[in-house]
Amino acid sequence: MSSLTLLFVIAALGLVAWVLARTRARRFRRGARQRFSSLPQHHGWYVALCTVVPALTFLLIWYFVSPALVTDAVLATPRAAALPPAGFDRAGILSEAREIAAGRAYGAFTPLADALAPAYAAAQARFDAIGTVIALLLMFVGGAWSFMRVRPGFSARTRNERLVMVLLLAASLVAIATTVGIVLSLLVESARFFRIVPVGDFLLGTRWNPGVIDPRDPGATLGALPLFWGTFFIGAVIAMAVAVPLGLMSAIYLTQYATPRARRWMKPLLEVLAGVPTVVYGYFAALTVAPAVRQAGAAIGVTSASSESALAAGLVMGIMIIPFVSSMADDSLAAVPASMRDGSLAMGATSAETIKRVLVPAALPGVIGGVLLAVSRAVGETMIVVMAASGVATLTLNPFASTTTVTKQIVDLLTGEAAFASAKTLAAFALGLTLFVVTLLLNVVALMVVRRYREAYE
């Protein structure tokens, strides 16, 4: 039976179970004036679930287990004795035989695969049949057992709800699994990297050139300090120099000066900036901003102005962050009690004086928290720097010179043709771990600052 037919049969039997159980529950309800904890359809669902769930669970497990059983069965046949010892060749021939047996491939490169194909097909058919029979058996057992329990006093609803609860809990665990998955995969690969390259060389080395890795001393050209500097320079200095004043002033204008109508138009307009995909910003930075920056640099006499300058990437990144800073500042300003503002205005201060001397200082912790969050976002931003920043790692203070960042290097390291476990690809995971830890710390600190600030005014 093909898997699709089997699923169809399971669904059909589940439906039958539902109808039967419902009918039975209805019969005993009729006439009785007593109240029951479960409606007929609750009984129906209970029996249907008892029929279907064990069978489906079994099939899911079977789906992962049976290929190994099939392979074992094939290896036990006399023809398999001709196979090469376990290794890459053997796996290749087996997978070829499997493809032929499944009818997905027409001819074989290796004659042995052709010879093994019938054995494969036979074993496959046998284990498919076994799986189907067990699944059907489980359905009948589960269905009959639960059907016997359909009695007036039986609370089928409670059982069903317990199952739903398990489902809800399982869904929540996906988030934890993801977190654990991220941490584990980064840690495992990084640990392999640090077995090749000492941590000190990686964190404090000033030469980054993964193109020429000396196998005897891979740490010599894998010093990530220039990357950390470049990331900080572009994300935390240049981008913030653009985003903080513009974002803060926008928030002040929108919350304190703009008429409600203007605000209704301008706020979504700013939000559109946040919705533009980063690849678009990156393209724009590379195509339009970077040449303009280089010309501007040349015009003011910077001879080394690069067409992949830190300034171009940082400027565009700053623009991207504006709505983020603006909305954080907006929230912080809104959290300042109106009485503070009124108190200042009542003394005859102008709006600007009130904002500069009362509102902004009062909202400052919230704004700082928002800026930290913005930095964390800028540091993790990838596409703008991939497209507009340079691949050359330099320790420089000159915004017109080329610099590179952690995210840019991760992409460059992993999109080359290097083998998966080389120092080069492992370095990407070490960079990823650093990035993860730094953004995590920034977020934790920022949220602490913001929370403490909120509490101060509550």
Partner: protein
């Protein structure tokens, strides 16, 4: 004392909210066909106690109830007691009217539907009409049953909530200050309604309006600081209180 047999009996009930001991050793009988009023100053625990009678306290994190509460002799905190069925038998009306944002019809029909009380649409229609009539709302809404329940006035909303509670055919109805959010005219309508419902259901009403307690109830319990100070026939409590604190409260010395 009233001669009606007890419907619910509570003995030695304590309620805790985390570390806060909200109800201390309360024992009380709620009698069939009577209206029982719980009075007392704000924060005295009368609403808390009311919510433990249909286990609505279960929904509050950290709430714990000890002691023994029985409905027709069955322990409502027993493991085998299905809380869903308990709440169908012990209905509740809240302080603020809280109709579902659905049509008037759906508001009333919801309970019968989930409990499977109607075998057909016609039967469901009958239940809805009967419930709305008993709640004194039928004539006002019969032409607009498909309007949203939230579009009614506050007093009408509260009567809709009473109709909703009646629709599942409860044995006891708990009312938690049902008139505190209503104007005097709407309050008078609800009080009339309570009067009409008396005899069909055991009704427990929490109020801090002593005149209201005197008007609608046959029996009154006075709570203070989580304790039951005095419980007896309403006429006795208001004319001849045995406890000094009860007397102080009903004469307006504090509260």
């Amino acid at each position: 004392m009233s001669n009606n047999p007890p419907k619910m009996t509570a003995s030695h009930v304590d309620v805790y909210y985390g570390a806060n001991h909200a109800i201390r050793d309360v024992s009380i009988d709620v009698c069939q066909e009577d209206v029982t009023a719980f009075i007392g100053p704000s924060g005295c625990g009368k609403s808390t106690f009311l919510r433990s009678l249909n286990r609505m306290n279960d929904t509050i994190p950290g709430a714990r109830v000890s002691g023994d509460i029985r409905l027709d002799g069955d322990d409502i905190y027993a493991r085998e007691m299905d809380v869903v069925q308990l709440r169908a038998r012990v209905g509740m009306v809240f302080q603020k009217p809280n109709p579902f944002p659905k049509s008037i019809y759906e508001n009333v029909a919801y309970g019968p539907k989930i409990h499977g009380l109607a075998q057909s649409k016609a039967e469901l229609d009958r239940i809805v009409e009967r419930s709305l009539s008993r709640a004194g709302l039928w004539n006002e809404v019969k032409d607009r049953l498909s309007d949203s329940g939230t579009a009614l006035s506050g007093g009408q909303q509260q009567r809709l909530c009473i109709a909703r509670a009646i629709a599942v055919d409860p044995e006891v109805i708990l009312m938690d200050e049902p008139c505190s959010a209503l104007d005097p005219v709407a309050t008078a309508r609800i009080e009339e309604l309570i009067h009409d419902l008396r005899g069909r259901y055991a009704i427990v009403i929490v109020t801090h309006n002593m005149q209201q307690a005197a008007r609608v109830s046959q029996r009154t319990a006075f709570f203070h600081l989580g304790q039951l100070i005095e419980y007896g026939d309403t006429s006795d409590i208001f004319t001849n209180p045995r406890q000094e604190r009860t007397k102080d409260y009903i004469t307006g010395r504090y509260g």
